[in-house]
């Protein structure tokens, strides 16, 4: 055996856990910090990207009533329901159905990702307050 394995938990393991928690907290704060400043469901825009290209942009707050749109990507089809309160994938023919299980997203910075279809739906604030990039 090449290296000796320490089998019992060591207090120093908490350092690793602390680094992970700090990284998660810092990233979460960066991603959703601005979202907390906005009111859920108001002034939202849904940006739909297929294969990395923006293909649709829906002003949710301007919708008079819920609207359903269909998107195709990499041989898969997603049916997305947009309403003033948010966006939700209501059906998809992808194998894992993670996008459907994500449910309703209703705040800037939140997103639905369908990896098999290479489709992402990201909510941004109407004033562009959504997260575009994280630095550092």
């Amino acid at each position: 055996m090449r290296r000796s394995a320490k089998l019992r938990p060591d207090p120093r393991d908490l350092l690793v856990a602390a680094v992970i928690v700090l990284a998660a907290a810092a990233l979460g704060a960066a991603l959703w910090g601005r979202a907390s400043a906005g009111t859920s469901g108001s002034g939202l825009t849904a940006v739909v990207c297929v294969g990395g290209q923006e293909t649709d942009r829906v002003e949710l707050s301007a919708l008079p009533k819920p609207e359903t749109r269909v998107y195709h990507g990499s041989g898969h089809t997603l049916t997305v329901r947009f309403s003033p309160s948010g966006a939700q994938v209501v059906s998809a023919d992808c194998p894992n159905q993670d996008c459907v299980r994500t449910g309703l997203i209703d705040a800037p910075g939140r997103s639905i990702v369908c990896l098999p279809a290479r489709i992402s739906i990201q909510l941004t604030a109407a004033d562009g307050g959504g997260v575009d990039a994280v630095i550092g």
Binding site: S4, K6, R8, R12, V16, A24, C49, G51, R118, Q122
Partner: protein
């Protein structure tokens, strides 16, 4: 360890990793936490074991073989990028952490689980061509504390069992 014995052990561990990947597909974490790519990461147990028992070189060979064969058997070559990036990142981080004095299998496994998720999110960003998957990373990192602890616990059980079976451990 003789070359033949080492080769055989690598083959067995590769098969075990593939079996564990298949096994955990029956218990999808995504049913509880609907995030793409979230899973228990039981195959990482084999990487941890190989890292300590055989060294990073053999662990790398087992990892690459597992990723290639897994993608072939699943008929899903697009998954190869995800498993390779996640696995390689995890192995790299665990190799470094395993050299840190004092860290146990638990700490090393937690670091590996977190790194695996970072690698997979990077793969998702490459595939989708945007930063949308980054929104999942904070939750994935938090979950990696649990999955990493589970892997560390299972790895320690494995090494204890091997000790009892009077396998050599230096």
């Amino acid at each position: 360890m003789k070359t033949t014995r080492k080769l055989t052990l690598c083959a067995v561990l590769t098969a075990l990793a593939l079996a564990l990947s298949y096994f955990e597909s029956f218990f999808p974490l995504t049913a509880v936490i609907p995030l793409p790519g979230i899973k228990l990461g039981l195959a990482n147990l084999v990487t941890v074991f190989a890292l300590y028992a055989l060294g990073p070189g053999q662990a790398l060979l087992i990892l690459v073989a597992r990723c290639l064969l897994g993608a072939m058997f699943a008929g899903n070559l697009s998954a190869l990028l995800f498993s390779l990036l996640g696995g390689l990142t995890a192995l790299g981080v665990m190799s470094v952490l395993s050299l840190c004095p004092g860290l146990s299998l638990y700490g090393v496994s937690m670091g590996g689980a977190a790194a695996h998720n970072c690698g997979q999110v990077a793969a998702a960003m490459l595939v989708l061509g945007g930063a949308a998957p980054l929104a999942y990373l904070p939750v994935l990192l938090a979950v990696s504390l649990l999955t990493g602890t589970l892997t560390g616990f299972l790895a320690s059980l494995l090494f204890r069992a091997l000790d009892r079976a009077q396998f050599k451990r230096s």
